[in-house]
Amino acid sequence: MKREHIDLIENYLDQQGLTFKPLRVEMKDHLIGDLEAQIENGVSFEKAWELITGEIPNHHFKNLQQEVMDTLNKKFNPSRAFSYLSLILIFTLVLFKILHFPLLGILLLATFGSIGATLFSGAVFSLYPFKNKKESLLLLGVVIGIGLFLLSFFAQIKGLPGVAPLRTTSVVILLILFPTIILYLGQKGNNEEYILTHIHKNNSPGIERFLLILLVLAVGLRLVSIAFESTPDVSNVLLFLVIGGAGLHFFALNWHSNKHDQGRQSWWLQAGLVFGFICFILPILNNVVLSYNIRIVVAACFYLIAGLIILARLNKHINRTIALTIVIVVSMFHIVWLLINLNILDPSLNSVIFNLMYMLFLLGALIYTNKHKMFYAYMTMVFARYMLEYPNQLGLW
């Protein structure tokens, strides 16, 4: 198949409204198979194309996609039930906060418990048909690491003891497992589907929806907190959850790209991912273990590395110049913020990075990147972090 033939097929699938990537990949392979069979029989590409597409009714693939999505959504999934429960609890939490109702602590514990149950049931439920013990253990390890982090986060918010050991254990587990997975998938190459990628791929739309709802709620609550001059604690928690969730999602999306972007795999990308993950996870360590200054330097490094990874993995949906501009603007924000917080730059420079134009730019970038899952996860993190810092830096509280 020539490049223009492939483009023709891609355009045809676009016209048919086929957007669900796993199905699209199969339809493309199937169409090419049909075309190649005709061409082997001496039919020209043009004639073969006419014959094959002539048999397919308009919007056939869109209807097929709908049927597939209905199948996938119909089945009861405890993980999905817990994720809905988590959302209800978060909504209630936000409402209670706005109305100054009591029981915030219990609600917060229930929310964290429900998020943990979502992850755990999702992993166990998805692992059921698989027999690969090594990958199952890796996945369960990741879930336990995240669970311990949530527990330590709750203990920190409520001022309970045991934050440092819980947090450190969680960081150590994740620090061992994520790079192991990155290297494991990198070494195994592109030729197989792994449990980890399979489960993450199946849960990706749900994860993205969950993070988006959380982000919208957090930003909404942030604005309410500013308007009514109340404490921003709940929106802080939500924004931290968005950053953590989007960060892990970002790295998990790289597992897929490791598999599919065969030609682009290189040692420096693997090294960047491992180093990037270390920089992502270390800042969540407690102050006792790692000083604030070191943590903010490491966090800034993560955003710079993640930006470079994004640029290495752009797809046709994203304009390269626009992507580069976004990454530069985002990097500038992190560098200036870091230098101000290290007392190298004057705090008055906060107004350069914390202003309405900058915020709208980041919001626009978030919307623009929604066709590139990895870029979108990155921008979700960036926007949540920006919103986390915005009112603090301008002394609004």
């Binding site: 199905l23 990949v25 199969e26 199937h30 097929l64 597939v68 199948t71 048909p129």
Partner: protein, 119 residues
């Protein structure tokens, strides 16, 4: 046999049977194999095959693996241990059903009118 209504109820079992014979297959390969075995009497359309494959995967009867072949991703399906058990069960059920159908559809001696016409 070209009627869609006959095919619709049996695709599930056909797919399970083919996958129990072969270690793994991809969508296009399944349609080609069915066409070949049925001497072009059964043609599986996209709309008939893929929802069934996704349903079987969702029921944990199939697992998938993706490979890059000729610069494009190809998704292979194979049976899970549970899928293998169900495949044996379903094929046996369909065979029994086909036998029963054969008995029902066998021309009854009383309905054979040719002797009447021959008189």
């Amino acid at each position: 046999m070209k009627s869609k209504e006959f095919i619709r109820g049996t695709i599930r079992t056909i797919v399970l049977k083919l996958l129990s014979d072969k270690k793994r297959m991809y969508g296009y390969e399944i349609t080609q194999h069915v066409a070949e075995l049925s001497k072009d009497q059964i043609k599986l359309t996209y709309g008939a095959l893929y929802p069934i494959l996704y349903k079987l995967e969702d029921e944990a009867l199939l697992v998938t693996s993706t490979e890059i072949v000729d610069n494009r991703a190809r998704k292979y399906y194979s049976l899970t241990p549970k899928g293998k058990e169900i495949a044996i069960e379903k094929v046996s059920e369909l065979q029994k059903f086909a036998e029963t159908l054969k008995i029902i559809l066998r021309p009854s001696p009383s309905a054979n009118l040719s002797p009447v016409w021959n008189q």
